[in-house]
């Protein structure tokens, strides 16, 4: 089993290395290698999931030692890890296949597929890691691969800037995460997850709100939650399959997974804060998504909003539901991102939805699968999103009413902006030359769409999955099923998506080149467009506060550390060197003279004639 999991982890790294060293010029072979690797990962993961059902894999070796402290490298493949492993391997494989079609014309395919392999390696590392430091290492590695892949089109200014932004904003969160890890080690004396769980179980007083909030900083950065959400919409500058895999289905969900891994550390206050934070994010991102024109940005904000739902579910004490929603969200969000990729590919990289229109007739498979994704995320009854999202809403209704109200408004908005996206893109008349000439893509691209569409439909029926896969979520699902007000919630949830459907149909059914919202409610439109000025505030902070401070520190450094201390000390010793150099004249006579003078002085001192 352990050999198997080691193979699983290092297979993509091997593939990336081979690509890097031998296949840089050979995109065809590199892409096939990467796709076969991801296929291998899928097979190995399924094997592992089936075999680890009864006994979770827990294994470690010492990586290195410093004094009495040893850093372990180990695996912990338990119930939540199995589910994430399945999601990563399965969605990852489909997106690799889709990439074959999407990136077929790209000249830098080997770089792209190498990056995907590195990402798979890092993501599997997070999934399997059994201690916080190892999670942190792979955490940074996914950040790196995300940087690499966002910057795939690095010749464009957008992508170059976006990759930097994603990397730097993540650093801010990771700094908090690192402090959290240090605090954890300080308090518990270990960073191993199982040992931490035992210790926290043994003495619940050990943990503190500060500690778990510091650890949650990692989640806030990686899952792009408030106030570090600004990087995710910009990250859409990368290739669309990358957005689907990394910035929707798996990497951003790793933040939620981190929370689940350390849920025993969380105090009620911290949980409440996270629930509120998630719920507000769900609503805020909804408003942002409502007014975007770029198809990928709409989906990006929708991702933020759904991550907010997962965070809320976790904060409300339903981590199982959060993971369940992570899975269903991975299916339908990957589906919609790949659908948008299919549209973008067919329309020659046109991304403005107001330049699409009427694509349903020209791209029937993409349109139908995309519609399924929209229905699933809106929470249409008996599709996958209905089960997971309404479970969160029902839990919120019973546990925390303010959070429920925010989440429900978010759900209404989700339905509105998702149907808006669908109607503007696929219905009506074509509004540009590109969209008139669009054609359905080949099987490599539609195949993954169909598979994901099927899963988006049936993904909510937990009875269909093997028990080992959803073991972690089942108790919470059953708990939610027992909660009161079930009927009431079905009515509310159903009315939410029906409202979204009718509103969008009437409001966005027949649009021209402009967003009808901007002419009817310009004030509201502009407010949403501004995204509450977060980017501007951060810019202001950087330009007016941080840069002057950095400049001031630089001057101080030049003056005191570099000037006075480093140069000063060097100057003093240089002075001595100058003196000593003056004695070195190159004449043997001078040397012998000084030698005798020195000897005489020494003897004089030794016998006491002169004294210093």
């Amino acid at each position: 089993m352990i050999t198997l999991s080691l193979c699983l982890l290092f297979l993509p790294l091997l593939s990336a290395a081979v690509t890097l060293f031998f296949l840089r010029k050979n995109g065809n072979v590199a892409s096939l290698l990467s796709v076969f690797t991801s296929g291998g990962i899928l097979l190995l993961s399924l094997l592992l999931i089936i075999n680890s059902e009864d006994t979770p894999i827990s294994w470690d070796i010492t990586w290195f030692e410093m004094g009495g402290w040893a850093l372990k490298f180990g695996f912990l493949l338990d119930a939540p890890a199995r589910l994430l492993l399945f999601v990563v391997a399965f969605v990852g494989f489909l997106i690799h296949v889709f990439s074959l079609g999407y990136m077929a014309d790209d000249s830098a395919r080997s770089r792209y597929f190498g990056g995907l392999s590195i990402f798979m390696f890092s993501m599997l590392g997070i999934t399997l890691a059994d201690n916080l430091i190892m999670i942190f290492v792979f955490w940074e590695l996914v950040g790196f691969s995300s940087y690499l892949l966002i910057a795939h089109y690095f010749t464009t200014e957008d992508a170059a800037q976006a990759s930097k932004k994603a990397f730097i904003v993540n650093r801010v969160g990771d700094f908090g995460f690192l402090i959290g890890i240090v605090l954890t080690y300080w308090t518990f004396g270990t960073v191993n997850l199982s040992e931490l769980a035992d210790l926290a179980d043994f003495d619940p007083k050990l943990t503190s709100t500060l500690l778990c909030l510091a650890l949650a900083c990692g989640f806030i950065g990686k899952s792009a939650q408030f106030p570090l959400h600004v990087w995710l919409p910009d990250a859409m500058a990368g290739p669309t399959p990358v957005s689907a895999l990394i910035h929707a289905a798996t990497m951003v969900a790793a933040g939620i997974y981190l929370l689940l891994r350390i849920d025993f550390l969380f105090t009620p206050e911290a949980l409440n804060l996270i629930a509120l934070l998630g719920a507000v994010m769900g609503l805020y991102a909804g408003f942002c998504a409502l007014v975007q024109r770029d198809i990928k940005k709409i989906l990006a904000y929708s991702t933020l909003s759904q991550l907010g739902y997962m965070a809320a579910a976790f904060g409300l004490g339903m981590p199982g539901i959060a993971l369940f929603h992570l899975m269903t969200h991975a299916f339908f969000k990957a589906l919609m991102f790949l659908g948008s990729g299919s549209v973008i590919h067919a329309c020659h990289h046109e991304q403005d939805i107001f330049n699409y229109g009427g694509l349903r007739k020209r791209m029937p498979i993409t349109a139908i699968t995309f519609l399924i994704g929209v229905l699933a995320i809106s929470g249409v009854n008996f599709l996958s999103g209905y089960f997971s999202k309404d479970a969160i809403l029902l839990g919120a209704y019973n546990f925390n009413l303010p959070v429920f109200i925010i989440l429900y408004l978010g759900a209404l908005l989700t339905a509105v902006y998702m149907f808006r996206l669908y109607f503007i893109t696929f219905e009506g008349e074509a509004r540009s030359h590109n969209s008139e000439e669009a054609k359905e893509n080949n099987l490599l691209m539609t195949g993954p769409l169909v598979v994901l569409a099927v899963l988006s439909v049936i993904g909510g029926y937990h009875a269909l999955f093997p028990v080992s896969l959803l073991e972690y979520s089942l108790p919470d699902i059953e708990m939610v099923a027992q909660l009161p007000h079930h009927m009431w919630m079905i009515v509310l949830g159903t009315s939410a998506w029906i409202f979204g459907l009718i509103f969008s149909r009437s409001f966005y059914g027949k649009v021209g080149e402009d967003d009808p919202l901007s002419s009817r409610f310009p004030g509201f439109f502009d407010l949403c467009r501004s995204k509450l000025f977060f980017d501007e505030i951060y810019d202001f902070y950087l330009k007016k506060v941080q840069n002057p401070l950095a400049n001031f520190l630089e001057v101080m450094e030049l003056l005191f550390i570099s000037g006075l201390m480093v140069r000063g000390l060097a100057g003093v010793s240089a002075l001595f060197a100058l003196l000593a150099k003056a004695c070195y004249v190159g004449k043997i006579h001078a040397y012998s003279f000084w030698f005798v003078v020195g000897t005489i002085a020494f003897i004089a001192y030794a016998v006491g004639l002169i004294a210093f």
Binding site: Y584, V585, G586, K587, I588, H589, S592, F593
Partner: protein, 102 residues
Amino acid sequence: MESITPHHFLILATLLFVVGFLGVLIRRNVLLMLMSLELMLNGVNIALVAFSRSSLNLDGSIFVFFIMTVAAAEVAVGLALLVALFKKRDSVFSEDMRLLRN
């Protein structure tokens, strides 16, 4: 007529030593510098013998034999080096032997 005391020997020894030292300082010719060095050694030898005689102890005289032996050996090596140097440089003047300074 005054008898010869150890002081006289010491004055002679000091004179010899100073003459040798001035030779080392002033001469440009390395061969002469080497000879001046021998002169300084002999000055020391005289001082040793004088002390040995005045204190009725043979240690100093024996030490002189050692010094002479070592000096003989040293001169042999020094001259050999000098010959080799002359063959290479065509010069025995010390100002021509300052490769490291340049």
